[in-house]
Symmetry: C2
Subunit: 233 residues, 2 copies
Amino acid sequence: MLMQQESGKIRTSSFTRMIERNAVSKTAGRQRNLHEALELMGAKIEYDRNSEIYGEGESAEFIYKVISGAVRVYKVLDDGRRQINGFYLPGDIVGIEASSEHNFSAEAVIKSRLLVVKRTPVLALATRQSEIANELWSITARELDHVQNLMITLGRKNALERVVAFLLEMARRVHSFTIELPMSRQDIADYLGLTIETVSRTFTQLENEQAIELPASRRVVLRNRNLLSQLNA
Amino acid sequence: MLMQQESGKIRTSSFTRMIERNAVSKTAGRQRNLHEALELMGAKIEYDRNSEIYGEGESAEFIYKVISGAVRVYKVLDDGRRQINGFYLPGDIVGIEASSEHNFSAEAVIKSRLLVVKRTPVLALATRQSEIANELWSITARELDHVQNLMITLGRKNALERVVAFLLEMARRVHSFTIELPMSRQDIADYLGLTIETVSRTFTQLENEQAIELPASRRVVLRNRNLLSQLNA
DNA sequence: CGCTCGTTTGAGGATGGTCAAGGCTGGTGG
DNA sequence: CCACCAGCCTTGACCATCCTCAAACGAGCG
């Protein structure tokens, strides 16, 4: 909690100036693509576990790219119910919004290093280079696609199918059938619209059915891929 | 069913040529904004109730704007479970995708008139005019926002809250507390991740609690707006 | 007038939530 | 190096919500 506050303070002082300086000096030359441009215009900042990256309602001042660690983007209802819309892993871009306000909140799931880039210079660049504009659009479109698929999971799948969908998604994204989960059972539950107990029970069930191995609670090995794919509805 | 096939055939023959002719001849001049450009480049086509507009996996050849009627965009799992991602009403744009394939299917909910526009000339226009590119991006971003909010509904709200969220969304979109629903209970159920029976029972419950009036099954009058807002979590 | 499709209502049951307790693990300090 | 503690995870028993199956109802149309 304290660290969270600290990183927040830092971000609004010296770091901001550093990021702005980069943005101003480096955008004169033509960048080949968005990621290259972000690299030149941004600064790397470390976020502690559970620290806030941005909050719902804040103006969208920065764009973030995950270098290491993991980020969750979520919304909470007044009574505390939380829905996580997505987890962002190294290489993913977080916080792109066409509107100037963040509609969701973002936190570091574990200690994470992010590339932080001022948003307005990126938008300015996009008006001059249609390829950049296209990449920004594509990122939003990919996110839309992801969330739409998650909607089928939340609206029409049972607990077992949801957990399997999650595991297959993670395996696909880390390019491995051995998955080191950065997030807790609570995070998974809030992503899948379940409770922590149901997630836990379902993991156990999959282990009993030899579909997965659980050498540690945060490490999952996908064993019977056929079975899992079948369960993916 | 037959009508559906027919409109499909028509679309791939003379209508396509008409739309293309418009696209080629009208893009020479500079358009002030996207909707104006679409108007000039597109042709109006009528779709019967339940007829397919495009299917999942098809190449995204056209962009559509609803003139009258209503459109549902959805995905079905192998075993028939259907999740509707959204309803599109007059003024809404349907079928914009950054990728070249449709990830979902679209159907007319009721007899609808759509403006159909070739996609590639619009994209070409966007590379030349950053305002157009921006509008396209904004449309995708607004859709993302809508779907993300729906995710909270699907992941974290109970049946009553879901139905209320739906009614308030519809009221907001038609700018009226008297709503003529173009869609069936089944459509609503598949949008909210519920069954038709649960939707029906919830409507009845809201009517009994004087929160709404149901002069006809497809007509809803929002009566106690405070109560409804409270239930919107 | 009667048929059809969509909607409502009812009874019973399954899935996942709630509440509660116990276990494991990694980090800290003696 | 070991013991303890805190946080996270698992497991169990019970319960609520929503689903399933079934039937009746009603509005629109030939």
